[in-house]
């Protein structure tokens, strides 16, 4: 059953309070990130793009949102 309380999570190394139980897709939208432009690692597990809907954010989750930058 979906809860709406705030939960504390780690996003890219910073603590954030977000709505608990929301999907990763929702989180990306709230952060104004196009799903196609980032790769999501949830608690050290890489998520497939087409399954962002299935995964929900819970208390204590560690989320890494990465993308490609200039590099040699």
């Amino acid at each position: 059953m979906k809860t709406t309380e705030t939960v504390r999570v780690q996003v890219n190394g910073k603590e954030r309070d977000v709505t608990g139980g929301q999907s990763v897709r929702t989180l990306l939208e709230s952060l104004d990130l196009k799903p196609g432009m980032v790769v999501v690692e949830l608690n050290r597990e890489i998520l497939e793009r087409d399954r962002y809907e299935e995964f929900t954010i819970d208390e204590g989750d560690t989320i890494e949102l990465v993308h490609f930058v200039g590099g040699g």
């Binding site: 990130l33 890494e64 490609f68 040699g72």
Partner: protein
């Protein structure tokens, strides 16, 4: 104009394409996308270099800043073949993690494996690199491994299943050129997979000398990004790589200490 086309075609006709892990490239120059003053200069420079494969790094999205930092806002993955690197990793574990994240981006299974062993010299940790290479190759990655100029390590990386082995010419960003041509030449002589010299090239002649060793390609970044005029230097590098490659294929004259006249010694007047 027609002449210029003829020239280029002739040049192309004189060399075979470069094949890495089943992909074919006409340019033997691979360039990085880091350290440019602006994204516009970066794109212009890369286009001027004629490169088809470009490296990119995997980093956290900066949630506080504009998303514009993402390199794909400027580089069209349709125009360039993306080679994600594991730059900044100091262990096999980290490198494997970064490689997986890169592949999850969905472009290709290639990765420029880079495991650093020392912050001051950015020299590779060949022990961790070899370990990571095995894991990634087993997972189906097409590993292009950055390594030092040690033949034994190069042979091990080939055995581990790397699709390309990439020894350094000199330390990353040093611009010292090919310090040890003997080792580079021997690595090329002994490996079957493509040998791409990665890091150390500082100017056009370095790229030319590198290709003259017989290697299959060159990867560079700082030499272009840190030139006073990156776009012009990129043009220079495109020609330098081609020049070195063709010279290698053409077979240079023997060098000798004693002079030999280039005009006839007969037929002089009395």
């Amino acid at each position: 104009m027609t002449e210029s086309i003829a020239e280029l075609d002739a040049a192309r006709a004189l060399d075979a394409p470069l094949e890495i892990g089943g992909h074919t490239f006409t340019s033997r120059l691979i360039v990085g996308t880091g350290k440019y003053t602006t994204n516009e200069v970066m794109v212009d420079a890369i286009r001027a270099s004629g490169s088809e494969m470009v490296t990119v790094a995997v980093r956290r999205v900066d949630l506080d800043r504009t998303k514009e930092e993402g390199v794909l806002h400027h580089l069209d993955p349709g125009e360039f073949f993306l080679l994600a690197n594991t730059a900044g990793c100091y262990s096999a574990e980290d490198a494997v993690r970064y490689a997986r994240l890169a592949r999850a981006a969905g472009f290709n299974e290639f990765v420029k494996l880079e495991v650093i062993g020392d912050e001051r010299t950015l020299l590779p940790d060949v022990y961790q690199t070899l370990e990571a290479a095995k894991i990634l190759a087993d997972e189906g990655f097409k590993v292009m491994a950055y390594t030092n100029d040690d033949l034994i390590t190069a042979l091990r990386l080939e055995d581990a299943g790397c699709v390309a082995v990439m020894p350094l010419a000199s330390p990353i960003g040093s611009g010292l050129g090919v310090v040890n041509p003997y080792f580079i030449r021997e690595i090329k002589r002994r490996l079957e997979v493509p040998v791409i010299v990665d890091a150390g090239v500082g100017t056009a002649s370095d790229a030319c000398v590198t290709m003259e060793q017989g290697v299959d390609g060159v990867l560079m970044n700082t030499a272009l990004a840190a030139a006073d005029d990156p776009v012009r230097m990129s043009h220079a590098m495109k020609h330098a790589v081609l020049a070195g490659r063709l010279a290698y294929l053409a077979g240079r004259m023997p060098s000798r200490e004693i002079a030999v006249p280039s005009s006839p010694t007969k037929g002089m007047l009395a």
